[in-house]
Symmetry: C2
Subunit: 462 residues, 2 copies
């Protein structure tokens, strides 16, 4: 008899697992059907990007976006929508920047397409004019030293490594020049700095993005700008012909007092453990140059749609499910910090958190935290995603907005990973517009996110 | 001693396999580096699409493309370039089509964006005007019968199934109405037919493509056109308001006598078995409405680049490697048929053949034939492709150009599979232009193809 039980148990377990998988595959199919035929992802994105548009923290549009997100979450079927207050930096670009090269040797003036970097100080109304020194690394600056740099404008001419398969890796290598390049240059007495845009595409669009003043390097704040790829080429070529050229920079940006803003959190209440949470979010703010479509309107609408998909498909989650529209990812992380603070104050247990902030492209997979066994659990679901062309379950996890809750709260995090080959073509440029988003790609990625949230809620036990 | 041998053999085999894989991963890395930093894929594509442009079989541009391909293959390092003659159909669109609705009830005329289907007869200079009957399947026609159809224009209003994950599956379901819709309608006495464009995108671009007259259904050839998605919507909505509307069609297309043309075959001679071949190709011809960028300029330049990659990386293939630019894939397969005929005449043994004809998008994987163990061999290489985000090794294989050699010659075939979510947005429309191709996506897919060809040449034994 005992033998018979031993023999039967695996069959029973197998049948149970097979039946669960079968049921789950039906639920995933329903989630995909919802996203591909009934979802509001695309129309919501159209509204957010073309009716509201650029929504940098502190701007009137960012506040419109907060109000819109609240309504959109209720419309999607949220049981409740919470506005979490946070104070955000309020940087404004002001009048359009100017940048041109003057060369007495070449008897020419060249205008360069440029954009002030976020958080940078302005040049003042009169601008600054100085000789340019081109470098390719911080080591170059160390080697040149103050005698060669003082009073000049530093030009970080660093290319994306085109041979990297993930463009994000090339971005990771070069973004440090945007981030702390100004302070590193100021340390040696430079009066301004310009960086080659962080991109792999040879066009004439400057890519803005945040910089910060690293006071451990220098107490002096100098203006910093991004040049378009082609402008950086032109500057480099002109220096080759005349290394005594002067660069004129004029920016009108400034940092105003911090402004009040909000994260917007839409929730479906859990049926078994309502004070335990599975969350998925993107960031509501965007750079001021464009509509913030891929960065990160797409992440927002994909996550808002989870609420609708759960309601329409009839999924009653055990834990509370949240779509989170974080504020201020681009230049401060005030929203991510506030979310973690509120979670701690209210003693909210977070099972897992997903961030969608890599563009609204075709889905590839998930970058999953190994914390508390989440990765090991998630790879068991890989076969469920195979029919949907989701084949990457790689170890990593999270995104900027989740970094605080990940570190301080020990929450296992996931970064959703679409195909990113085109992302850095338009990242932080005027080209990040609604028309660059493909409806099917947007919806397929949304369905992948909602499907993973469904499985985590149902099966994951940390 | 015997035990020791048994024990040691697996270690030896393991070390050998590990070392081979390690060496292969280095070669793949070199192939990718070549494509991503030195290849001519993008500049070749720019020339083919913007300097030569649309190149339907029989056109002057198709012949320019033949001469260009010959030069490009020699420039890429071909040991020899063969022009394989073939006679191709020569269909011409003539003057721009006209299509409009007249409704006496609504007292209105609506103009519809349309395009004659390839191989269709024209309407004559006076056009045709008749009542429209809307159907959603061939079954609808059978049910309506001659009494309801005779003398009318049939409107196939069949949508893509948006819930299909591969848009190609939705295409496969609907393309039959484009293909034999005219003959099926003529069987019941219709005098013309229009089809909703085969696409998932709700825009105003008509999608042309080939049709054929199925004489088993009807001996009468009636004109056939594609309506844009929006035009089909408008026609449907107008019929709902007035089911007695008249449709006017005017097309000036005609089929001229067959014209001489060529496949272009660039070859690197094999070092061990020069009369055995591994080939990769795309089709050189394209529809007349656009530049034929994704369909199939990208396949051409990716395969031509294999020759260059092998030479630059220093790969000396055992078998002869061919990049094949097939002629006349779009409306006749004369090139694919000629290739198979020459292979048979010259007793050329083909180990395997790959076709790249699904757009120049980001790579996903390969559709591989199970014939002669190719699939079972190929899946062993899956881990080599993992770092390059190539994760799909699915059973299927080949493409239209290879269909003849696959059937008649028993050659194991492979279809290269990029991401196709955007392919049918622009497929066979005026929108299939160079600017729709992303340089990195093009190059990454090219490198994937070249890598598989390298591995097949090195390891595959049928």
């Amino acid at each position: 008899m005992k033998q018979a039980i031993i023999f039967l148990t695996p069959i029973f377990v197998f049948c149970f697992i097979a039946s669960s998988q079968n049921n789950d595959s039906l639920i995933l199919r329903k989630i995909y059907d919802h996203y591909l035929s009934k979802s509001k992802c695309y129309s919501n994105l159209e509204h957010l990007t073309t009716k509201i548009g650029a929504r940098l923290s502190g701007s009137a549009q960012a506040e419109q976006a907060v109000q819109w997100a609240r309504k959109a979450m209720y419309a999607a079927g949220a049981d409740t929508v919470i506005l979490q207050p946070c104070m955000v930096p309020h940087w404004v670009r002001g009048q359009k920047e100017k940048c041109f090269i003057t060369s007495s040797k070449l008897k020419s003036t060249f205008t360069l397409k440029c954009a002030a970097l976020g958080s940078s100080v302005g040049t003042g109304l009169k601008g600054i004019k100085a000789q340019v020194i081109e470098v390719h690394s911080f080591d170059d600056l160390d080697a040149l030293g103050e005698k060669n740099i003082k009073g000049k404008i530093v030009f970080y001419n660093v290319f994306f490594d085109q041979t990297k398969i993930r463009p994000g890796s090339a971005y990771g290598e070069t973004v440090k020049y945007r981030g702390k390049g100004a302070s590193y240059a100021a340390k040696y007495g430079a009066i301004g700095c310009v960086v080659r845009s962080m991109t792999s595409v040879a066009d004439d669009e400057p890519h803005t993005g945040n910089m910060y003043y690293d006071t451990t390097l220098s107490k002096i704040k100098i203006p910093a700008l991004a040049l378009s790829y082609k402008a950086a080429d032109l500057l480099h070529e002109t220096i080759l012909k005349d290394n005594g050229i002067q660069l004129y920079l004029e920016t009108h940006c400034e940092t105003l007092p911090d402004a009040p803003s909000f994260n917007v959190v839409g929730q479906i209440n859990g049926t078994e453990r309502p004070n335990e949470f599975v969350i998925a979010g993107g960031h509501l703010d965007s750079w001021d140059l464009a509509q913030g479509a891929h960065d990160d309107g797409t992440g927002i609408v994909q996550c808002v749609e989870i609420l609708s998909a759960f309601k329409q498909v009839g999924i009653k989650p055990k834990h509370s499910i949240r779509a989170v529209a974080f504020m201020n990812e681009e230049n401060g992380l005030a929203g991510g910090t506030a979310y973690a603070k509120f979670a701690k104050e209210k003693n909210e247990k977070h099972l897992a958190a997903l961030e969608a902030d890599a563009g609204g492209y075709t889905p590839r997979g998930f970058l999953i935290d190994t914390t508390k066994g989440l990765y090991n659990q998630a790879i068991k679901w890989k076969s469920l995603f195979h029919p949907y062309y989701i084949d990457r379950f790689d170890v990593d996890g999270g995104g900027a907005d989740l970094s605080v809750i990940q570190k301080s709260g020990g929450v296992p995090c996931i970064g959703f990973e679409p195909d990113t080959q085109r992302y850095f073509d338009i990242h932080h440029t005027a080209g990040d517009t609604f028309d660059k988003v493909n409806k099917r790609e947007l919806e397929l990625s949304g369905a992948a996110i909602a499907s993973l949230i469904y499985l985590i809620d149902k099966y994951y036990q940390p």
